[in-house]
Symmetry: C2
Subunit: 261 residues, 2 copies
DNA sequence: GAGTGGTCTAGACCACCCG
DNA sequence: GGGTGGTCTAGACCACTCG
């Protein structure tokens, strides 16, 4: 394999670049291109979450590059949590069906005791037309179908999170309260397994708000109680937004944990 | 230079491993040891913030390893923001005197408009004996001297942050309101230049609280207004805690930005 | 043009896992 | 023992910066 823009690389001749004879306006290193190809295979489902991807030597042969180049590509994918390396075993497609992954997207920790995953009670699940603001954030057209979900999450039986979600209707066709109730574990696991949509990264904007009457009742606190409000947009492959979420967190016995590095 | 297990950090070729014949109980790759040595030089001030460190080939010669090994060590240091690589120029010790670095530790962003750095007004600067809780978090003994600082930060003249800090008195001897007022730019820049203490990472715990009367007055809002409360412990080299900070953020026109990756 | 970091290769060997 | 990822080396060439 040859790089896309004029590049040395002694190995073979058939590169895509040779045809284009352009100078290098946009230089992209070989390992980045390999990374792109591997990402495509992840996205297309050639290797499914939890499965092992081909070994480094195998990929090196397939792409006609050295193992070191494949290695650097996979290094970056591992750093982005798209794959996980396990020495002596292989490289595996990341999945949300793992304790490891659960707390990457749940940052609310108990002030004391060990973190554990909350239980969900679904308040409402329905389809509706996307309001302008939701459409904008999900990159849809205003009025497009979206799935709306409202749930409460309990830690040790104590209601602590009230959450609303908006999901693109096209992708999450057939998502019902029943399927949500049946499913055990984090919703992202369900989304990954049943709807072929893997959340890769997310952006959150956090504010402090006063609990309104309805939410206060769900959390069994007085109206006006201060709550953390986290508005999240989650992205799948290709930086495509596929989830909007607004969580209200009761932070009397929990806190939002963040590392600045 | 040879690895520690099977061998020691000496630069000769013999190595202790051959003698011991033991399997490796604690194996540390060579590049990690190089990384440690470079970190020591950073910590000792052999290369100061903003300065260029020796080139990769130079370090490779010094440590008697290949350039690739030095490279991998520096890669990790760069990933941890201890150094910055600039192609064609060199590798430089990170410093807080840079626009780049400012927003690594200030996550409060305006809902609209471009981020910019707030102005500080210092309310109180004094020395006191560490309360038990402060001492615990700063790894001091209860009653040890600490510097206490209270300030308000304004965005465009609007008071938005009330912050309290506790710093180990031993390190921050001579930190006065005057010096804080004289200094322009982020406090971490002052700490780095004047007190030889560089913050390299921090942990934050975030909650929602109601503004108490005093803080509400400083922020010019009603008592009871919901505020974000961020409690931060900052660390310097060797994971040594050197700052405790409690910030109250008014989130009516700002939000705490966080990326989940 | 000289010096720096960045990419790519090829080959060797090590640590780890499993049958 | 054979496969996998992990480390280390040596050498070549490229892209970038600056004098």
């Amino acid at each position: 394999m040859n790089p896309v823009t004029p590049n040395q690389t002694t190995s073979d001749a058939t590169g895509v670049a040779a045809a284009s004879g352009q100078p290098s306006p946009t230089f992209s290193p070989l390992y980045q291109q390999i990374k792109g190809l591997i990402t495509q295979s992840l996205q297309s489902g050639e290797w499914k979450p939890g499965e092992m991807i081909p070994s480094e030597v195998e990929l090196a042969n397939r792409f006609k590059v050295s193992q070191g180049t494949v290695r650097k590509a996979i290094d970056e994918l591992a750093a982005e949590n798209l794959v996980m390396r396990r020495q002596g075993k292989g490289t595996f497609v990341s999945t949300h069906h793992e304790a490891r992954a659960h707390f990457r997207f749940l940052r609310l920790m108990p002030d004391e005791g060990v973190p554990h995953y909350p239980e969900s009670t679904f308040i409402e699940v329905k389809r509706l037309r996307a309001p302008a603001e939701v459409a904008r954030l999900l990159d849809l057209k205003s009025g497009d179908a979206v799935v709306y979900i409202k749930r409460v999450q309990n830690f040790d039986g104590v209601p602590t999170i009230v959450e609303e979600l908006w999901l693109p209707g096209l992708i999450f066709k057939g998502l019902t309260a029943e399927r949500l109730n049946e499913y055990k574990g984090p919703m992202y696991g369900l989304f990954e397994s049943e709807f072929g949509t893997r959340m890769i990264r997310a952006q959150e904007k956090i504010r402090a708000v006063c609990a309104e009457a309805g939410d206060a009742a769900l959390l069994r606190v007085a109206a006006g109680t201060p709550l953390l409000c986290a508005e999240r947009v989650s992205f799948t492959y290709g930086d495509k937004p596929v989830e909007l979420r607004r969580g209200l967190y009761l932070t009397e016995r929990h806190h939002y944990q963040n590392d600045l590095i």
